[in-house]
């Protein structure tokens, strides 16, 4: 049943930027919702400006904005309508579209949303049963102390206590500098909240507002540590890669320039198996390492011994050997390793989708895999305004003449010309690593 997707028939009005809101919208699109993303050329979604190798000088801003790889990662499958919501005519159109939407999804600040006349009360007046999901930094409640504060996914980790816990004891915190972790987990938590609200609506016909403060949501991940402080007066500190219920555990240097293996030994039998694989059965007989508590107490000694072994081998070998005897281990993978990872390829993790400018675009797959209704993405990143005709005619009741006028008045941004055809530089060679993807099929544009 091709139209039997979980969210078939559902429509989402998406006003998002960067990562937290956009990833949530992508999941909705994947499972059948029609996700209409409102985009402005004057204030493009920041993830469209996080580049690709497309030469901005040579091709100009519109093509550059349409070629973003992060744009494809986070906005794949959505419809793009180019609208300047600051203009009153655009807001009239937005209201018409909203009246046909089931979900309103935004991670704009509460103030920004209010200034556009799209706060919950205003939206509910247009569509009473709407599910309004607002993902702010510090909640939509103007009374909350940090209401007007600025936070991004990358500095939220610090505020939420995660950065302080990342790094080695005795060193400065390294923090989660390379990844906007908070954004990804919040995108998924918002999905849980939206799906739950839909349950209530199915039973009662009532929509509701979801107030997701990204600060608060991430703090809930530290629940156990916060209880430890509250009850035991014990404050969690950096532990490097170690855990208190698993030893040895750590990241060990292997043969190579910057090659590492991660290992977690969790039980006594795993410990014995580990020693055997390392060809050091005597470690298992060593009093210093006899129990979990002993190994934790002598972890430094143990790590030195382990690394003297791992340094002689590649991480892939060590992970294979250990996994064969039931010990959790993995190479510390980088993008090059992941790109050619046989396991991910065998699971068809990479998707090759149509792209108006690039022909085809490779994106990361959806981690929620449903056996019978697996979901589907029609296209990668849409060009800004790519779906103007459909959205403005079918959802905003505009005629062709009206659309032309709106374009002339700079209320609607037309899609930029597709005359320039491009291709991702990896197409000629990466196809050999994942030959099962539809490299040859026409884009159908």
């Amino acid at each position: 049943m091709a139209n039997a997707l979980p969210l078939s028939g559902m429509r989402v009005f998406e006003l998002t930027l960067a990562i937290a809101g956009t990833t949530c919208g992508r999941h909705l699109a994947h499972f059948g919702a029609e996700v209409v993303k409102i985009e402005s050329v004057h204030h493009p979604d920041i993830n469209r400006t996080m580049g690709s190798t497309v030469d901005r000088q040579k091709y100009g801003d519109r093509i550059w904005l349409d070629s973003s790889i992060l744009g494809s990662e986070f906005n794949t499958g959505k419809l793009s309508v180019g609208l300047d919501l600051k203009k009153p005519e655009a807001r009239v159109l937005a209201c018409r579209i909203l009246s046909r939407c089931d979900v309103f999804l935004t991670n704009y600040s509460a103030e920004a949303v209010r200034s556009l006349g799209l706060d919950y009360e205003s939206v509910r007046a247009i569509r009473p049963d709407i599910i309004y999901a607002g993902m702010t930094g510090f909640s939509a409640d103007p009374v909350s102390p940090y209401y007007s504060y600025i936070a991004f996914g990358s500095n939220l980790a610090a505020l939420c206590g995660l950065d302080e816990l990342t790094g080695f004891p005795g060193s400065e915190p390294s923090g989660i500098a390379s990844l906007s972790y908070a954004d990804y987990v919040n995108g998924t938590l918002a999905l849980v909240a939206i799906l739950s609200a839909l349950e209530h609506r199915d039973r009662t016909g009532e929509g509701q507002a979801i107030d997701l403060s990204q600060f608060e949501a991430v703090v809930t991940l530290l629940g156990p540590q916060l209880l430890d402080l509250d009850i035991n007066r014990r404050s969690a500190t950096r532990t490097g890669n170690r855990a208190s219920h698993s030893a040895p555990q750590g990241v060990y240097r292997c043969r190579g320039k910057d090659d590492w293996v991660a290992i977690s030994v969790m039980t006594q039998s795993e410990w014995r198996a580990f020693c055997h694989v390392a060809e050091h059965d005597e470690w298992a007989a060593d009093d210093r390492f006899a129990t979990l508590q002993q190994r934790l107490a002598h972890h430094d000694d143990l790590d030195a011994l382990i690394e003297a072994w791992t340094i002689q081998h590649t991480p892939a070998e060590i992970a294979e050997w250990l996994q064969r005897v039931g010990v959790a281990a993995s190479q510390v993978m980088n993008q090059a390793h992941l790109a050619v990872d046989a396991h991910l390829c065998s699971r068809d993790h990479w998707l090759l989708l149509d792209h108006a400018r690039m022909g085809k675009d490779l994106v990361t797959g959806e981690a929620i895999r449903l056996s019978d209704t697996p979901g589907h993405l029609d296209h990668a990143l849409p060009s800004i305004g790519q779906h103007n005709e459909y959205v403005l005619r079918a959802l905003a009741d505009c005629s062709g003449a009206e659309i032309e006028q709106l374009i002339a008045d700079d209320v609607v941004f037309p899609m930029a010309s597709l005359s320039v055809k491009m291709q991702r530089p990896y197409v000629p060679w990466f196809r050999h690593f994942v030959p099962q993807l539809p490299w040859e099929e026409s884009s159908g544009q």
Binding site: N155, S174, L191, S196, I210, A328, L344, D361, L370
Partner: protein, 402 residues
């Protein structure tokens, strides 16, 4: 009792440390989550931190937190009678949340395929280290292994140190997997409304953690390998972690409307005028003069405590955040004003103050509640739900099945 969004669903919770938080998300929104666990207690009960020291003799605070609002029924899945009781539970359930290794439950006659034959409306959510298919399906996992396989461990930490896992003891990769588990379960329940049937939800902890701002396709495009760079960026200046009197703050200054007020503030507090020169309005110029810019910023930040620096910076419209410790969070004024902390009366450790709602639904709110004692709901589950007699429950208990 306020109505909750998921009150119509009954879910069998067979998760361990890896997925328990996902079951909690559903329980806290009203689902009847029945945690089926061994008589020795499920994994979460043996996971630190503990209420009284780490020797394992206290109550697990991890369990108290992630098992809120669940019912607990003990069951020995290695016995024929236990497996039969599980089958009867499956018939009564809407969903199963499973983090056992692939094949473990199937070997006992209570895996997904067997469950489907008993209850074709059942959603079966399986969360495993590498998914249910592929060459690594039988690989073992941990939070650290999930980070390693995600690509995001490689790029985290200082260049001269080993890669280091984001969030350390918090087990952040597992948290993401658990959130996906909850979302996947709900998505399949939504599909059931249309198809009339349940289905299998296969979630790989690796795939759930593959998200990144430097994903594989970005690398394929530019072929620039990403390496560990520590806690400050060189391409955006100033950005990263800076010391203050009692710890650190994080700041991210890119736009001119952030840089200029910061430069003025530095001048105000340190007399450093050079930093306000117009040339530094250009982010490239700042990156070129990284050492000077960062030293100037440090001369400001080291004059403040992190919370006061946070408040003052935000007052000036600057995106600074403190590197909070657990202590700072418990004292945070925003969380307090938002009534974020919930009080739970736990029969074993007394009154505790726990972290509160991740989101607020206006009509069907999140609710707090205690975690169950081991086997606390054996009667309500086996007698009331499955219809066993009191005598049968007693007999099964004596034989060690329950």
């Amino acid at each position: 009792m306020t109505q909750q969004a998921l009150s119509n669903y009954r879910i069998i919770d067979l998760t361990g440390v890896a997925g328990a938080f996902g079951a909690k998300l559903l329980a806290d929104l009203g689902a009847d989550v029945i945690k089926v666990e061994p008589r020795a207690g499920g994994e979460t009960r043996h996971t630190p931190p503990f209420a009284t020291g780490d020797d394992g003799n206290g109550v697990s605070l991890f369990h108290l937190y992630v098992d809120t609002n669940k019912r607990s029924a003990t069951l020995d899945l290695d016995t024929v009678e236990g497996q039969e009781l599980m089958r009867r539970l499956i018939v009564k359930a809407d969903a199963v949340l499973d983090t056992y290794p692939p094949g473990y439950l199937a070997e006992r006659g209570i895996g997904h395929a067997q469950a489907k034959a008993l209850n074709e409306q059942l959603v079966w959510m399986s969360l495993t280290p590498f998914g249910l298919t592929g060459p690594r399906r039988d690989w073992r996992g941990s939070d650290l292994v999930a980070w390693a396989a995600s690509g995001n461990l490689y790029t985290n930490g200082f260049p001269e140190q080993p890669p280091v896992a984001p969030g350390g003891p918090v087990m952040l990769a597992y948290a993401v997997g658990a959130a996906y588990a909850a979302a996947g379960c709900l998505m399949a329940l939504r599909a059931r409304r249309i198809t009339g049937r349940g289905q299998l939800v296969d979630i790989s902890m690796q795939e759930a953690n593959l998200f990144s701002e430097s994903p594989v396709n970005a690398f394929l495009d530019d072929l620039i390998p990403r390496h560990r760079f520590g806690n400050r960026r060189s391409s955006v200046v100033p950005m990263g972690t800076f010391p203050c009197k009692d710890g650190y703050v994080h700041l991210l200054i890119r736009a001119a409307n952030h840089w200029q007020p910061l430069a003025e503030w530095i001048k105000e507090k340190t007399g450093n005028e050079a930093v306000t020169e117009a040339l530094f309005d250009d982010p490239y110029a700042r990156a070129e003069s990284r050492e000077f810019i960062e030293e100037s910023v440090e001369s400001l930040t080291t004059q403040y405590m992190k919370q006061e620096l946070f408040v003052e910076a935000q007052r000036r419209g600057l995106p600074f955040t403190p590197l909070n410790t657990a202590d700072s969070l418990l004292q945070d004024p925003h969380l307090a004003a938002r009534s974020f902390w919930t009080t739970i009366d736990d029969p074993q450790v007394g009154t505790i103050r726990a972290a509160g709602p991740p989101y607020r639904l206006s009509l069907t709110p999140w609710q707090s509640g205690p975690a169950p004692r081991l086997g606390e709901h054996n009667h309500s589950v086996y007698r009331d739900l499955l219809g066993l007699s009191e005598a049968e429950v007693t007999a099964l208990t004596c034989r060690g099945v329950i």
